[in-house]
Amino acid sequence: MRKEIIFSMKSPYREEFHIYGYVFGSGEKTVAVVGAMRGDEIQQQFVSSQLVRILTDMERCGQITQGVEILVIPSANHFSMNIGKRFWPMDNTDINRMFPGYDLGETTQRIASALFDKLKKYRYGIQLASYHFTGSFIPHVRIIKTAVDITKEAKFFGMPYIYVKSPEPFDTVMLNYNWQIWETKAYSVYAGTTAVIDKPAAKFTWNSIIRFLFQAGLLNCKTEPGFVSQVLEDKCFRTLTADNAGFFYRQKSSGSTVRKGELLAKILNPYDGSVEGEIFSPEDATIFFAHDKDLISEKTAAFQLI
């Protein structure tokens, strides 16, 4: 394992900021993994740090294939994480809305540029991602749909679902999309939670990444079998929004299989505790996403079903 400095910057009053990369093996730049780009992506950084631990051990045991290189960047934003912020401490900008970056631009454009300069040379890219809705997802791999179909290798993860998402305008400034434009096969892996560590989901996620590395021919080791992934498109989803506001008293979580007519959540009056509304499943389905805060506003996405 080699530890490299990818980006450094002085700050007015804090210690110098560094982004580190951990490099395993040597040769063709084959897989790059990026952990936390936002300060609350603690689960994502946890998974990445465990990958560094596992790959360090595998390298010591000679289990990394000759002639390939794996890069892991566990964190690109500890300046935010150390002070409990999601976005860049100074201007609240999101590093993952700055790709491909600009080395003469604003601070977060420079960070994105330094990251992308390093990352764009790899054949496969794996980003441990979080989403702009707070809630829990079934662990899954997400692909931004472009001209090249990369679902075949997405099955290497053995995750239950692969979501092939049509790009929206904001995707064009994110890492995943830019990786693809630069011909890296890019996968966003959703590890269940964001700001809190969910150990089973974290372990499931790092095992999936190890499985990917093995299937892609980068490791010679035994891996546990995974799922036969189901490929989802935008039209496979049905969003259930709340018709009321109040306490969100959830009966079902992401990953649950539910029957038509089954109660998914109640919304309770925040003053007297009475039931203001109930959300039922309109069909037999699996819960892909569930709102996981204890309060809910009207018209908010409470569940996404597949």
Binding site: S11, D91, F170, P270, S297, A301
Partner: protein, 308 residues
Amino acid sequence: MIKTVFSASLPIDEKLIIQKNQIQGAFPGKRLCIVTGTHGDELEGQYVCFLLSEFLNKNTDKICGTIDIYPAVNPLGIDSITRGMPGFDLDMNRIFPGAKDTSLSDYAAYSIVEDIKTADYAVDIHASNIFLREIPQARINVDSASALTGLAEMLNIDLIWIHPAATVLESTLAHTLNSLGVKTIVIETGVGMRITPVYGQRLFNGIINLMHKTGMWLGKAPENISKPIIAATDAVSFVNAVDSGIFLPEKEYGVMLKKGDKIGQIVKPLSGEILSEVFSPDDGLLMTIRAYPVVYEGSLLARVIHNS
């Protein structure tokens, strides 16, 4: 007349309400929408909306058509000094045209577009953020420059900045409205979290002038409307910080500079060092100057439009 454009219950005893003031002229005519407050920390538009509501309410007999004033597209943001929608990650100006039945923010965006989309004109007033001071300007996508420049010139501003098209900007309110046939001008002016009264007055005059020129205003035409510089992106030089520290500006925005003129310096208060001096890269107009003193490497300090 005050009308509600969107309403949704928040968890406890409160609704998120987006409202507008609809001012109906005595005579039929076009419909103009004045929109501001998408970014909750940009307040320059508040003063413009106040001036317009107050003035137009008293002068409906001189108005042909309808003026809709939306002072707070993001009311929770304005009331809580939050740039975005509190509790929601994305910039509200990156989610248009929005959608029904997906999320609260999408639904709000959708409702705003539905309400405005039959208008003839819209002016979307942004301020700069808290970091920069800007001279009053319109920002126009190069693809719509021919359709919009004439309208922007009516608004009594100093600059029209024609910027390149970018996919990410297709989800702005202005892009959405323009693609629906509402001629929409984006204004950037002043600084975040503050009101610059002189610029508010100028925009007020500019909007009355636009109404006059489009046949919506029968009263006296405003005088001394400023003729803006029209600049493409390659006419604008950016000056970014090369050190992290405290920026002390030495020039006011809006002044003409010579190449090499000192704009300011970055200092280190702990040791008393001057870390770097900042000079103008060109002869030209200082359109932007850093307002917030703390800077990191890369922070934007100034923009200069070169003479030509």
